[in-house]
Subunit: 263 residues, 2 copies
């Protein structure tokens, strides 16, 4: 029973994370609490066959694409890393440009899963990913993650909106922690497969003004059996100012972990 | 110049945190990144004279009072701690009942400050406290904090809404970190005055299902000069299940710290 159920759920969850990773097997799929990125875009690659079971015609929105709320500083940082991405698919052709990949980012699971009726029994239908749950552009978390698999690192460009306030005029420590969890988890998921956050250790070095655009740099420290250790620092876009430093530990999980079917 | 400006700002910020703490001086006022509670309620006590400068007639909403989104489990836990609070003011009389105090919680600073025009130059007018920024009741963070000053501890009753999702069906690690920062910061602010978060070290022991009601228990570990160390654990309401453990370090700050007027 575990096997049958787990395989079905595995299929659903794999699909959440994009077709490229399905063809690669488990490697690169993350069940991390923090992100719902994929390593390839629904917009630029042909969908796999299960996509046809999705009953609606619209494409899911990739929240990590530029929008009108992005400041010039945000756009500049995005353009910088986007120009280093591995392929250019704008004209239907793929050309190698660099070692980076932009991760698309969606706000829910169920839209992108086959077998939605089954999944809806497990997940509240109105649930939304925390970092993408406010519709107003620019109000909360505007961010995009780029991964460099060769260097086992990633960088996130993050613009902190007006609803993330902690101390007057500054970003809430919990909002910064949320982004650190999200970005370190994205990298850990890419490198180690299905994972969950086990520890976050965050040093707040300097208060971050609301509206700031910052870079969140993450790198693999080491992998020890089921444990993946990531280091992280948050800086200004010119990297002259250090806002936050952190380490994160993720533990690889079995597919049934979240659904109570693990042994 | 620093003195004049700092005193004016100090007045504004003190007011954010309620009239009781103004009469007590700095002790108990927090500039922590995470919370905007007071130790006394605008709804139950007569306002101080500066309140008359506030040009609107409505009272600020205390977000930590029960609402229709609260589950029976949430209401039961609230009732339990509310019954232990120090004074009963429902009939206009104050009767000692126990060592606990409920902290009210607002979603912005400027509404409760005199000199709003001045303050609005420093703070984006549309900024809102991260944990209270979504209007829909029950969608994100529903919580109430009770402090026990005698025991130097506090407890928060927290209900996790549908927009806080991380892994499918479970609460985002960043949302849990946000609540830990908020509640540990509330206690540190009560005990040490103006503080900011310096470190959060969070161990995620078990995934927390969306919709859960949990207790966040915090206690003072120690105070060393400018450093206040708080311990924290997140459990089910019957305390049988441990979700998360954490330590937090807060550093006392000068009044001008956030506004760049410190030496």
């Amino acid at each position: 029973m575990l096997g049958q159920l787990a395989r079905r759920r595995l299929g659903l969850l794999l699909f959440l994370h994009g077709e490229q990773r399905i063809s690669n097997g488990l490697n690169g799929v993350s069940f991390n609490q923090t992100h719902r990125h994929t390593q390839s875009s629904f917009n630029t690659r042909s969908p796999i066959s299960t996509m046809s079971l999705w009953p609606f015609s619209f494409q899911p929105r990739d929240f990590s694409l530029p929008n009108s709320s992005w400041s010039p500083e945000m756009c500049k940082a995005y353009d910088h890393y986007n120009a280093l991405c591995d392929t250019d698919t704008e004209n239907g052709e793929e050309k190698k440009r660099g070692p980076w990949k932009k991760l698309p980012s969606y706000n829910r699971s169920i839209k992108y899963a086959t077998g939605g009726i089954h999944l809806s029994k497990l997940i509240q239908a109105k649930a939304r990913l925390f970092t993408r749950s406010v519709k107003e552009q620019g109000a909360t978390f505007e961010y995009v993650v780029f991964v460099n698999e060769e260097e086992k690192s990633c960088v996130c460009v993050f613009q902190a909106g007006r609803l993330l306030e902690g101390a007057p005029g500054h970003v809430h420590g919990g909002a910064i922690a949320t982004m650190i969890d999200t970005v370190t988890g994205s990298l850990a998921g890419c490198l180690s497969g299905p994972i969950m956050t086990a520890n976050l250790n965050i040093d707040y070095r300097s208060p971050m003004p609301l509206g700031s655009v910052v870079l969140i740099h993450c790198a693999l420290d080491r992998i020890e059996r089921r444990k993946t250790f990531i280091t992280c620092k948050v800086t200004s876009t010119d990297e002259s100012k250090l806002y936050t430093e952190a380490t994160a530990l993720f533990v690889s999980i079995s597919v049934g972990h979240l659904f109570g079917t693990r042994n």
